[in-house]
Amino acid sequence: MKTPKLEVDIGGLLLRNPIMPASGAFGPEMDRAFDFNQLGAIVPKSITMEERPGNKTPRVCETTAGMINSIGIQSKGVKHFMKCIIPYYAQFNPPLISSLSASSIDEFAELAEIIAESEAVRALELNISCPNLKGNGLAFGMDADLTYTLVKKVRSVTDKPIISKLTPNVTSIQEIAIAAEEAGSNSLNVANTLLAMAIDPETRRPKIGNVMGGLSGPAVKPVIVRLIYQVAQVAKIPIIGCGGVVNGEDAIEMILAGATAVQVGTASFIEPTAMVNIIAEIEKYMERHQIESIERLRGQVIID
């Protein structure tokens, strides 16, 4: 067999392989761990218009097979991003997907317009699902109408591919997915973190400063796989799976459920080279199963 083909197309953006970092779990500091050119894409931490301090510490805590974070989008603002971050990532081959966060629909559009101007930015990921912005866990992505309006507005200011990052904390993710697709998203990220909380029985205090935060890691994978499967039933645009992927088999599982590409977050905290290991494991799986192109696996879960 020839070496397996890993190329995928996430709504007009071609990737050499389906593996990329999850926003907020990746940074320039990791270049000492592995060569960024091996990635399918580069996704920096969500950026906001203005500088933001982020939330109180502790900002992370461990749970069984997972972690809760409430970083709260600590950001140096879009100016610093355009001046320092984009040029840095521009030196690598994988396309740069910029993740955006804002507190109003207009701000989302403004920010998108500014960032899309940079040639190096090849797609925008709209973080409409951060549970850590307002302290109550609410997000734009919890409402289909808001999602539609928001994405539509951003669509009107840029032709670059838009990835809408959905929240898992909803009754019907299908509804939100359809809204995002109809408003002009080119692909969907399924999904952000599960809203969660932990209390230390000894101190009786929440384990993170912000009381609630987002749960990530292997604990959430079964919920995310279900969401991918549900979205794949209704969406025509590609899905990027995200949540709990630790190894190549996890990525394959998401692809079988319907994902085109896969993001890896927390796993990099435990094994900094997790992403390149996962790419190698996917290749091995494909060789073992004689699968020539990863596209052949997409949505191929067998339902009797």
Binding site: M30, V60, F269, T273
Partner: protein, 260 residues
């Protein structure tokens, strides 16, 4: 910035709540500075999920060994005690910025509370080897929790033990002790770790007597490599407040910059 599978030479209980682990670095080439840390996998398992940060307690460049001294606190350090001699442990590091030992210094003073001594011992060792005089005030709840005293004494460190038990560990008494030490020995640099309460003394003295000082901070960590912004703290730069990452810009900071 890499993970290493290193062989455990020993992993032993040294007192009621403390353990000591020594690993073999002969297979890898690492330059490790006092004050740096490693993020350690407590178990070859998904549970505990996150690594746990431990300072370098001792680096032996001849023997090619690395040592950690750790307090059994929760699940992670508890499981660490199960790591068996001759098996491998997965360590990620060295990480962060260590202490700065100034060439010109003749005498330094360390103030460590509790397991803070784990962080300062490597510095004491490096300083002693460089011919500096090292005073170390070790503070703990009980006599039993005063660690590494023999090791430090054996390398010529002058030790002062203070404990809550005996009642000589409060801020005023420790401050008086430092004053007494400075009376007969001019302190060129100050270093501290393990207690913000005690660090305030160091900050005060450093400012008042214009002595350089450094502190090693702790914060809950996610990635330990500067990407997640979990471990931030505020520091003072001029009259501005700046957010820094303990794992990346730290864990060692100039004492005058930290907000205690």
């Amino acid at each position: 910035m890499k993970t290493h599978q290193v062989k455990i030479l020993t992993n032993l209980q040294v007192s009621d709540r403390y353990w000591h682990m020594k690993v073999d670095l002969s297979e890898i080439n690492l330059t490790v500075q006092p004050g740096q840390f490693f993020n350690i996998k407590c178990d070859q398992n998904v549970y505990p999920f996150l690594r746990r940060p431990l300072s370098v307690y001792r680096i032996d460049n001849e023997e090619k060994t690395l040592e950690f001294l750790y307090l059994v606190k929760g699940i992670g350090t508890k499981r660490m005690t199960n790591l068996k001699k001759s098996t491998n442990v997965d360590i990620f590091g060295p990480l962060g910025v260590g202490f700065r030992l100034r060439e010109e210094d003749e005498t330094i003073l360390l103030l460590a509370r509790g397991v803070g001594v784990a962080t300062l011992a490597a510095l004491a060792y490096a300083a002693a080897r460089n011919g500096k005089k090292v005073h170390a005030i070790l503070s703990a709840r009980h006599e039993d929790d005063l660690l590494a005293t023999e090791f430090l004494e054996s390398i010529g460190v002058i030790i002062y033990k203070v404990t809550d038990e005996v009642g000589n560990s409060d801020v005023t008494k420790v401050e008086a002790l430092i004053k007494k030490i400075s009376l007969y020995s001019k302190i060129d640099s100050l270093y501290t770790c393990g207690s913000k309460r005690l660090a305030k003394i160091i900050q005060k003295i450093a400012k008042r007597d214009n002595i350089p000082g450094e502190i090693a901070l702790e914060e809950h960590m996610g990635c330990a490599m500067g990407v997640c912004f979990a471990c931030v703290c505020d520091i003072r730069v001029g009259d501005k407040i700046k957010s820094v990452r303990v794992c990346h810009e730290g864990p060692v900071f100039p004492i005058e910059k930290v907000i205690l």
